[in-house]
């Protein structure tokens, strides 16, 4: 990339361009025990909102707040039932405006 190109925005500014009406109830749950056994951890790379973060003790830390509700995480998860995922409460979650 040439030096005079516009720098890529930070992930935080990228996510701040999206409206999320956060529900009090989490729509994602993660079974940490199953994650500890997981060797692939596809959710960490594939989740477009970067909601899954590995922890030092071999577990996975997850957030549900800024979720695009795409379903990638449970789809790429190869530990049966490690990620439980449903739609958030009606009226909550991501709200697109110019998508």
């Amino acid at each position: 990339m040439s030096t005079d190109a516009y720098p890529e925005i930070s992930f935080e500014s990228r996510m701040s361009s999206v409206e999320f009406r956060v529900s009090e109830q989490a729509h994602i749950t993660v079974d940490g025990k199953k994650c500890a056994d997981c060797s692939t951890r596809g959710c960490i790379t594939a989740c477009p909102a970067n909601l899954f973060v590995p922890t030092a003790d071999g577990g996975i830390l997850f957030n549900y707040e800024l979720c695009f509700e795409c379903g990638t995480c449970y789809m790429v998860c190869n530990e049966e039932g490690a990620i439980t995922w449903s739609y958030p409460e009606g009226g909550h979650g991501v709200v697109f405006h110019s998508s």
């Binding site: 409206e19 009090e24 409460e89 009606g90 009226g91 405006h97």
Partner: protein
């Protein structure tokens, strides 16, 4: 309450029905505003664009509606039939969302169309005109603390003044006690809290953290589809007229030509450079007297009227 001379809106207090806490029914009105929640600001010229679906009721306005419902339920239980009306300032685009409010237990929704941009005081006056005993007959008015679109939180204060009601603003908690009464909690400096006992008629405003608006049941949502919301359009000819809008600033003073033999002394006389400046005063007064003194001083400096100061 005294209406100071020369206030620009020249309002006359419309007193809420006093002692209505003892009457058979109490009307609680949540005053809310349909506002731009995600304004799009042009980075180049700073103009604010409106996103077609970026408007709505702020979290504090929703908290106001939920608080109204909670209070109405509690008051009804303690023997005084209470109902909730939502009075919303906003355009026609708000109607669909306002209709959903009819499903959560709000008895009546009135949308107020204010045709021009107005000051907080004028907005309060328009609201007050609808809240009077002849119309909505509000005994308790609940507002969100600050409107989402660059609000200052002053409308509820102006409204309390207009209605001649007591006020408790910026509340972080409230609890209905008996009919027409409630305990309100307010934040003070230094992490302290202030607890206020409020008796209707009153105007209160709440922060968004106080409550989340409940979800309507499916049946109520379906039923609300056929209900109508009332619309009132307030144009310039009623009840107030906006002549012009501008920030308040002192009027220019007319000064006599400076006296002096040479240029330097005339400049000194003109600028008052070596003369003593306006001396500061420390007054210890009652709140009412203090308010009068502040108004007097502001008027003397020329802030409160269009006429040049005497």
């Amino acid at each position: 309450m005294v209406v100071p001379r020369g206030w620009p809106w020249g309002g006359v207090p419309l007193l809420m029905t006093a002692g209505s806490a003892n009457t058979a029914s109490l009307n609680i009105v949540a005053c809310v505003k349909w506002a731009e929640l995600r304004p799009e600001i042009d980075p180049l010229h700073g103009s604010v664009g409106d996103q077609p679906r970026g408007s709505g009721l702020s979290s504090s306005d929703l908290a106001a509606i939920e608080s109204a419902l909670v209070i109405a339920e509690a008051w009804s239980q303690s023997g005084t039939e209470s109902s909730v009306t939502v009075l919303c300032a906003g355009p026609e685009a708000a109607d669909a969302a306002l209709q959903d409010l009819l499903a959560v237990g709000v008895e009546r929704v009135v949308r107020l169309e204010l045709k021009e941009q107005r000051s907080s005081a004028q907005v309060a006056e328009c609201l007050a005109a609808v809240l009077t005993p002849e119309h909505l007959d509000a005994q308790l008015v609940i507002c969100g603390d600050v409107s989402a679109d660059r609000g200052s939180g002053s409308v509820p204060a102006f409204l309390a003044h207009q209605l001649g009601a007591v006020q408790a603003l910026g509340l972080i908690g409230l609890e209905p006690t008996g009919s027409g009464r409630l305990t309100a909690t307010r934040r003070l400096d230094g992490g302290r809290r202030e607890r206020l006992l409020v008796t209707a008629p009153a105007v209160i405003s709440v922060e968004g953290s106080v409550a989340d608006l409940r979800r309507a049941s499916l049946a109520a949502t379906l039923a609300a589809k056929s209900k109508k919301i009332e619309v009132r359009v307030l144009r310039t000819d009623s009840p107030v007229e906006v002549h012009r809008l501008r920030p308040w600033r002192p009027r220019p003073r007319v000064l006599a030509p400076p006296l002096g033999d040479d240029a330097l002394s005339r400049i000194l006389a003109l600028t008052g450079a070596q003369a003593s400046s306006t001396s500061s005063r420390t007054l210890v007064l009652d709140p009412e007297q203090a308010a009068e003194a502040v108004l007097e001083q502001l008027a003397a400096w020329g802030y409160l009227s269009d006429a040049p100061p005497t």
